[in-house]
Subunit: 327 residues, 2 copies
């Protein structure tokens, strides 16, 4: 299924997810709280996580009823809650090309709004879902927080290992992609094997998504990504292309990279093109791209235990979508 | 049961709650995350909320087993999570006479640690407890956030109503005291009547607790409360003693208060004694004290459907404790 066909097929589901969320959130009393949450939820976003829950449930033979939609929302709420708190933490001024919630309403109200959405996410998971589903979403959040702490300590270490890089990715991105997949399986009362298969699909897909993100940071078109090129390098973030280049480079090039990593962020910003060339020469981008492709292949292979059908085709299509995305 | 006897009886339970929490939190991987959470949980606090769950469960004939202790922890986690976020929001430098977590570790890590504890609280509520208990804790948190927004908008309004004052109290303090009581009843599979009685007990107790807090703000001994006298007046917060005085004062005194409320915080700080005298002359403190006593009487009467026993005596004792506390 190609990209356009996939998006056309998913569009009606995205609309239905949005309608279900708007209906669910209509009971917020305070007008400011309602505005912040609507800004967080309805300011773009492709509803990837709820879609994964619905597709996984469908793949496992579950009925896609009102409860399925309501349960799927919990991952969009959790995602939006984490973005609200992330933007406070990062002092981000923009989100999806528009002023961030913290820029408009200030940190205090946005922290509280994040807590509110987080609460609704978990309540949905444990009531429309089940205690087991609640454990899955709970584990995703605790993994995410652990990964944030691990990242803060290690992402800028010159001798950061590739294992460490992937550990952070698994917690920060993988857990929030694998858990909606796993939840779809649990909702459909799938077998343990099917649940595990969908977890594996989601984790590999999430890792691939983030590796592509790290590639786009160097190679993306700022007009599409909305971010400056080389942001990670400027911040001294040791992502896969750079780690591979450091491992492969000759002494002169490695020293050149290490000197830049020891320099000021301003110096690094002015030398992004130098870093780009050394990474390119040492196949850092090609290696990361190949890794993302391998991960998507693994994700797709994890679904081999399921019969071919529409839901499976769309999940496989999402794998290709991750590889071809430009923002 | 007098205060000393009550504390002596509750002490072993407090120790057991602490042990259960320490054991539960031993699986935190990141050392900084672990430190922040230990600071948030084990830096004082009387475990009032978990004790209420255990006493309520006991009163309803529930077995006080390991699950009861584990479930009761969720309210301490939720309370600690909300204090961590509150201190970030208020830029608080101290908590219980020691440096606040945000002072030591900074806002970012503390926001994340609050999210982590919040997640654990809700997961416990819905797994060790039940979907119904999860709904109770979820509703407590959403009420708390709604009340924070309502408070931000109305707490400093000159014409704030007493109803508005109690609405904010119900969400901010009442919900986090009534929900552990209700949870104890649900854990013990109590009747709807018993559950409602314990909810009513907790809500009235929580309101009384906060009215006393607002009295201590004017009348407390700073050496015991750890807070300067007249803080609320300086911030222009319209609490019950002041609302009553404004309602009762003659024109001259009312104008004097209104002039101060329209003045700068510095001016108000220098005139706290004036405000205190006008409130005293118009029986604002006596009125608030009488209201707290009425609320505690209501709390105790709510328990009249239960037979007399140890758990009930301790819950009644907590009512008196709220009225006599000095910090």
């Amino acid at each position: 299924m190609n990209r356009d066909e996939l998006l056309a097929r998913l569009k009606p589901e995205m609309v239905k997810i949005d309608e279900t969320m708007a209906e669910d959130l209509a009971d917020i009393v305070d007008p400011t709280l309602r505005e912040i949450i609507h800004h967080g939820i309805f300011n773009g976003g492709k509803r990837v996580r709820p879609l994964l829950t619905l597709l996984a449930a469908n793949l496992c033979g579950g009925e896609i009823n009102r409860d399925a939609y309501r349960l799927s929302m919990s991952f969009e709420y959790l995602h939006a809650a984490s973005l609200l708190h992330d933007d406070v933490i990062d002092h981000a001024e923009q989100r999806r090309g528009k002023p961030s919630a913290n820029t408009i309403w200030g940190n205090s109200d946005v922290i509280l709004a994040g807590d509110y959405l987080h609460t609704r996410a978990m309540t949905l998971a444990g009531t429309v879902g089940s205690p087991e589903i609640l454990s899955v979403i709970g584990k995703a959040t605790t993994s995410m927080v652990e990964a944030e702490f691990l990242q803060a300590k290690t992402a800028q270490e010159i001798d950061r290992s590739v294992d460490n890089y992937f550990s952070v990715l698994a917690g920060k991105t993988g857990a929030l992609i694998s858990s909606p997949c796993e939840t779809g399986a649990l909702f459909a009362k799938a077998s343990d094997n099917q649940r595990q298969a969908l977890y594996n699909y989601g984790m590999a897909l999430g890792l691939a998504f983030q590796v592509v993100d790290d590639l786009l940071d160097y190679q993306g078109d700022p007009a599409k990504t909305g971010k400056a090129v080389g942001n990670d390098f400027q911040e001294g973030k040791m992502t896969l292309p750079l780690l591979h280049a450091l491992d492969q480079a000759d002494d002169a090039q490695r020293d050149q990279l290490l000197d830049l990593l020891a320099a000021s962020p301003e110096k690094r910003q002015s030398e992004v093109a130098t870093a780009h060339d050394i990474i390119e020469a040492n196949k850092g981008f090609a290696h990361a791209r190949a890794k993302a492709e391998t991960l998507v292949t693994e994700a797709c292979e994890a679904l081999s235990c399921f019969p071919d059908n529409d839901a499976k085709n769309m999940l496989l299509g999402l794998g290709q979508y991750v590889l071809t995305r430009q923002k």
